[in-house]
């Protein structure tokens, strides 16, 4: 079950909300726990036990680490990493290693592709951050296994993030207050996310799929890269908005996961704005432990390469993701070394240059077939003797012109800008109040229309 579906919006969510607000405070976490496991079992009934095991195991090992003597603490901690990453490796990466090995030595290693449990990358990273924080004595362990399971399986962030750390919501797990302001804010945030996903990402996805179906042109490849970039952004940030909104409805305050990344001035800036919970996870649990930037230059470069290889592979067991990570590492190293001074003096130029760099990055991200990837990149850079455009492309571009315009518009902070502008004016405040009430209903209905008529509704971040 995904958030942007009729069963979730009109059946699951109302029932959960009704039960949640009906029961006394001490039973509320119980409702969330039951709802979360039901939610997970709707998509992956087979792996409910895996989620349960992960919760119980990490709670148990957290206690062991917290109470153990110094030598044992380290052993328990390393054991927890072994189990958590072992589980992730088996389900997500097991196929990758022997399948590539067998390309060189056919038939030597038997291999199979395990079914990937939905959201395993997210809940494993949450669990690892939990035990690591306890090991570092930054965080005390959860009071009860029940409370930890509620955290780990909490359905708003279970299958597609953001990666919520235990420290962010530990206090709210035991003591929170749901206010009408927060619920209203949560609903509005949820509708924003739903609209991004349904009214923009899915329509862009269908447009991009159409572009793929006819003969390639240089401009066609670039437009497709643009459409894919917007699709991924609105899909994933929309899901994060929905998660944050749902969290607010239940009284939890998650951290932001996106901050208009497509207007970034540099690649470094982009990664401060895109999937913030993932990049900060790698910063805190990989980059800084490796020494971060306070090391010799060559070691710094090594640290960046390690972090970005991991970031790439986190997204999937495929060479293109590694390439994607290395591509960003290359630009980040450039920005931190040779170009550091130049960038600080030319912010406008770097902002313009960042856009095509990002578009190419999402070509790497989207195409798992390396030979096709090569063809696309050659086509994009005039190396394949393709026509620049043809009439068919113009027809489709004309049809999607408004969609692309809206996508550009909503990838920028236009909404907060307009809100700020209106709030400074006398009439503006009244208009804003009306719009803030009307828009959630209008966009919720629009999204419902699209969902009912939908044939194209991929969820891009499911595979992670």
């Amino acid at each position: 079950m995904v958030f942007s579906s009729i069963p979730f919006l009109y059946y699951f969510l109302p029932v959960v909300l009704f039960c949640y607000f009906l029961v006394p405070r001490r039973l509320k976490n119980g409702i969330l726990l039951i709802a979360s496991f039901f939610f997970y079992s709707c998509g992956e009934p087979r792996f409910v036990f895996l989620l349960f095991f992960s919760g119980v195991f990490n709670y148990w090992i957290g206690k062991k680490i917290e109470k153990g003597r110094s030598t044992f603490r380290k052993r328990w901690f390393l054991f927890s990493l072994l189990v958590n990453f072992g589980m992730l490796f088996f389900f997500k990466y097991y196929f990758f290693v022997p399948s590539n090995f067998s390309k060189i030595f056919p038939g030597v290693l038997p291999y199979f592709r395990p079914i990937l449990p939905i959201g395993i990358s997210f809940f494993t990273f949450q669990a690892v951050s939990y035990v690591t924080d306890i090991y570092r004595k930054k965080q005390t362990s959860a009071k009860t296994v029940f409370s930890f399971l509620t955290y780990l399986s909490f359905f708003p962030q279970l299958i597609a993030g953001p990666i919520v750390r235990y420290e962010t919501i530990s206090a709210e797990l035991s003591n929170r207050k749901e206010t009408i302001e927060d619920i209203s804010k949560g609903i509005r945030r949820f509708v924003v996310g739903l609209s991004k996903k349904v009214l923009l990402a899915d329509v862009l996805g269908a447009f991009s799929a159409t572009l793929k179906s006819f003969s390639p042109t240089v401009l066609g490849y670039w437009v497709q890269a643009l459409a894919n970039t917007f699709q991924l952004y609105f899909d994933f940030s929309g899901y994060s908005d929905m998660a944050i909104g749902l969290g607010l409805v239940f009284g939890f305050h998650f951290l932001e996961n996106f901050n208009y990344p497509l207007i970034a001035s540099t690649i470094t800036d982009f990664w401060r704005r895109w999937h913030i919970s993932l990049s900060s996870w790698f910063r805190d649990y990989v980059y800084i432990p490796l020494g971060g930037s306070r090391v010799k230059p060559m070691r710094h470069i090594f640290n960046i390469l390690v972090v970005w290889a991991c970031t790439g592979f986190w997204h999937g067991a495929s060479w293109n993701f590694l390439l994607w990570g290395m591509y960003f590492a290359f630009f980040l190293i450039l920005e931190k070394t040779i170009l550091a001074k130049w960038i600080s003096k030319h912010p406008k130029i770097t902002r313009i240059v960042t856009i095509p760099i990002l578009l190419v990055s999402f070509v790497l991200f989207n195409e798992t077939d390396l030979s096709k990837l090569g063809t696309i990149l050659q086509g994009m850079f005039f190396l394949d003797h393709l026509p620049f455009l043809h009439s068919e492309l113009l027809f489709y571009l004309k049809d999607a012109a408004v969609l692309l315009f809206f996508s550009c518009l909503f990838a920028t902070p236009i909404v907060p800008f307009v809100k700020k502008w209106l709030s400074k004016r006398k009439m503006g405040l009244s208009i804003l109040s009306v719009l803030e009430v009307v828009f959630p209903f209008v966009f919720f209905f629009l999204s419902t229309m699209y969902l009912i008529d939908s044939t194209f509704q991929p969820f891009l971040y499911f595979r992670f």
């Binding site: 009109y10 709707c42 999607a400 209903f441």
Partner: protein
């Protein structure tokens, strides 16, 4: 106040739809989408563990959602108004009609098509004079600039690849945009007067009177209708009848049953176009006992042939209709029902452009 309106408004919205759908009765068929709707799933432990039980619930709840048709219709309208889009689900939708966008011209498909025709000819009626016609789709007649097949190249390729004993019947000038349904790919039977005349003329048949008795079915939801989401009103389906058509007996080889050209219960099928000879089937034999002609027609055809064949009944005593999508050409010789050796026999291959351009369905 603002927050209360939002919270209670959404609360009311959820309650309304939740209880409405509980009280509402389930619908089994969506005629506008021409498909059966998902019904309440039955539980089984195997379906639970493999996830298909919940998937079925997803389909069921989505399919039976209150006011579903209204939402679908409004979506297309909204999409056109907000995004200015004319493309919906891969179709080009105007306020008058819906056009399926054909994929690019496939030379390999054309070659497969012509090879198949040559193989059938050389196997069953070598060196005899045969006729063929490729029916243009309605995009051919649309003046607006949409991506279209390269029709000239298509016709030229087919012409070049077939041997001289294949005589082309060019139908492009006998049809116009109005000859097609607005919400379907097919031609309208009542608009085929010129097509019948052209076929009769090119095949050397005496002209016959065009049936004038019209029976109608309305609304007719064509196969593209759902793509237009209600922006384009449904069609009216007309089926023409005459004395010859009324008395003609039709034998359906697949179902092993006799029927008439039109069985009105076929109008209740999800696709009302099935009124023409009962819809898709591999082999039909039409026999007109009142025919003054002793000629016989072997018609290799797709669904376009279903509405045309009844109009040729005055010219033939017997029409054998073969659909190579549903029967392999190598099996035709084994069927006693078909006799290719008759001397007073005409052979006609009649296929729409979309089948010719995606001919790998023909066997």
């Amino acid at each position: 106040m603002k927050d209360k309106i939002i919270v209670f408004g959404f609360g009311f919205l959820f309650l309304f739809f939740f209880f409405y759908s509980l009280l509402d009765t389930d619908v089994s068929v969506s005629f506008s989408e021409r498909r059966t709707l998902a019904q309440k799933p039955v539980f089984s432990s195997s379906r639970f563990w493999d996830g298909s039980y919940f998937e079925s619930w997803n389909s069921y709840l989505s399919d039976q959602f209150p006011f579903r048709d209204w939402f679908r219709e409004k979506k297309t309208e909204v999409s056109s108004r907000i995004y200015g889009m004319n493309l919906h689900h891969g179709a080009y939708v105007t306020k008058d009609a819906i056009y399926e966008l054909e994929p690019s011209l496939s030379i390999s498909s054309l070659t497969h098509f012509t090879n198949l025709l040559k193989e059938v000819e050389s196997t069953y009626f070598p060196h005899r004079s045969v006729f063929y016609a490729v029916i243009p789709d309605k995009n051919y007649y649309l003046e607006e600039e949409i991506p279209k097949l390269d029709y000239d190249k298509l016709y030229q390729e087919v012409r070049n690849q077939l041997p001289p004993n294949f005589q082309e019947i060019s139908l492009q000038d006998s049809l116009q945009l109005e000859s097609y349904y607005r919400t379907d790919l097919h031609w309208r039977q009542e608009k085929l007067g010129n097509v019948v005349k052209k076929i009769q003329k090119d095949m050397g048949l005496p002209s016959s009177s065009f049936p004038t008795i019209e029976k109608t079915c309305q609304p007719f939801y064509g196969s593209y209708y759902s793509k237009g989401g209600g922006m384009v009103s449904p069609d009216k389906l007309v089926y023409l009848t005459s004395d010859s058509i009324r008395v003609t007996k039709v034998y359906n080889y697949e179902k092993e049953e006799n029927r008439f050209v039109y069985e009105e219960e076929d109008l209740n099928h999800v696709d009302a176009y099935d009124i023409y000879l009962g819809g898709a089937t591999p082999l039909l034999v039409l026999e007109n006992p009142h025919s003054i002609s002793d000629r016989e027609l072997i018609l290799f055809r797709d669904s376009f042939g279903s509405s045309l064949a009844p109009l040729l009944l005055d010219s033939y005593q017997k029409i054998t209709m073969i659909d190579l999508r549903y029967i392999h050409s190598s099996l035709l010789g084994q069927l006693l029902l078909i006799d290719f050796s008759s001397s007073n026999q005409d052979i006609l291959f009649l296929y729409g452009v979309s089948i010719v351009n995606q001919s790998f369905t023909l066997k």
